[in-house]
Symmetry: none
Subunit: 241 residues, 2 copies
């Protein structure tokens, strides 16, 4: 998946912009847009950004949210309060990668965060295709701006994979290449049983990919499922003879 851009709408505190830049760099994001009026970025922003000055140096300022969003085909809003009347799907941060996976991985995507006080307006949220609400204690339900950026960036970073697993007290999830191999093998079997002639074939392959992403099978699970594919292929071949 291409790394999304972060759009901060009217951030008031330059320290928050610096902290957000640091969190972005921590999680491999680099493109930061600010919608005016936004804090001037001086020494405080740089101090909070620590090693992420490149993110600050690359900041793009836009006079309005629609203008900031012009380069993007897909927009994800954020809010601490769900307003059902919006009619836009609400997601948890953990659901976000799956929702994004419905579109091609290089779809230009913006993650939009509102000002420290008040957040995004309903009019701004209406520009989004989905809205993320970070689960939070009802006692203290609003996160700091940079903390909210971190949570979304963290979930997307984990989803992009190639992060080292912990020590093997459980089996680590299979790598993307192993999953690809399994799905290709399954597609072969489905072709051999005549499924490829169906109109629904492409949709079924997409559903299987989504299901595999969510199941996070271990390498051993992938080996078992490929073993089943091989068995089915063997039985089909035997039938032909």
């Amino acid at each position: 998946m291409a790394a999304p851009a972060v759009v901060l709408v009217r951030p008031r505190e330059e320290g928050n912009v610096g902290s957000a830049a640091r969190a972005m760099a921590n999680m491999g994001l680099s493109r930061l847009f600010l919608v005016e009026p936004a804090a001037a970025l001086g020494g405080t922003a740089r101090a909070f950004a620590v090693g992420a000055r490149a993110v600050l140096d690359g900041v793009v300022r836009a006079p309005s949210l629609p203008e900031a969003l012009a380069p993007f085909r897909r927009v994800v809003g954020t809010t601490s309060t769900r307003d059902r009347r919006l009619g836009i799907p609400f997601l948890t941060p953990r659901e976000l990668p799956l929702w994004l996976a419905q579109d091609p991985p290089d779809t230009p995507t913006a993650l939009v965060f509102g000002p420290e006080v008040g957040g995004l307006t309903n009019e701004e949220l209406a520009l989004a295709g989905a809205v993320v609400t970070i689960p939070c204690s009802p006692v203290q339900p609003t996160l700091n701006l940079a903390q909210a950026v971190l949570i979304l960036a963290y979930e997307l970073f984990l989803d992009r994979g190639d992060t080292p697993a912990g020590d093997a007290w459980e089996e680590p999830p299979a790598e993307a290449g192993e999953i690809d191999g399994l799905l290709a093998h399954a597609a072969d079997v489905l072709t051999e049983v005549g499924f490829a002639r169906d109109d629904s074939f492409a949709g079924v392959l997409r559903d299987l990919r989504r299901l595999a992403a969510r199941a996070a099978p271990a390498s051993r699970d992938v080996r078992i499922l490929r073993g089943i594919c091989r068995r089915v292929q063997g039985a089909l071949k035997k039938g032909e003879v």
Copy 2:
């Protein structure tokens, strides 16, 4: 699971302690210990804590890490760099709830974070039963102290459950009976392709059940997978004729 305590070892910046307190309150944690020498907590700490002043007001200061850890039966350390020589299991934040679930849920637990510069020493990490490393871009591999606290607290908060799911842009997970039907159908297919004669058959069925539980397939997914089973059975039958 009883909410763990957070122990900050020699934090230098009171703003970080305030931000950590806010992140804790966001994710339902309340007990904060500081190991001396730690920042004095004044107006800056309170400003960063926003609504989490109760966490700051309840801070317990300890002269050393071992003294801070005295009330705890289980200690989780954190570090940005894995030193294999420590001989302590390394976990990702996402693995932490599963690791903690090995012990009774009311086991008194401390999450220990090192100073802003340098982190925990190996001697301090050696007091931990497990060490968490937050996945990060190698370009900017160290998180702000409060950001690290947030990530661990977030993973534990999600694990404690009762957080609302997102909207049903995805179908809800299938019911247990549907999963049972799918697994029985899969067992039939495996029997038909000759798998049931294998010693590993019972183990494979167990693995499939575990995988299905983790994948949480929707009713629609179950229908698709059963459709695949039927196709395979159809193709096998045709071969026999």
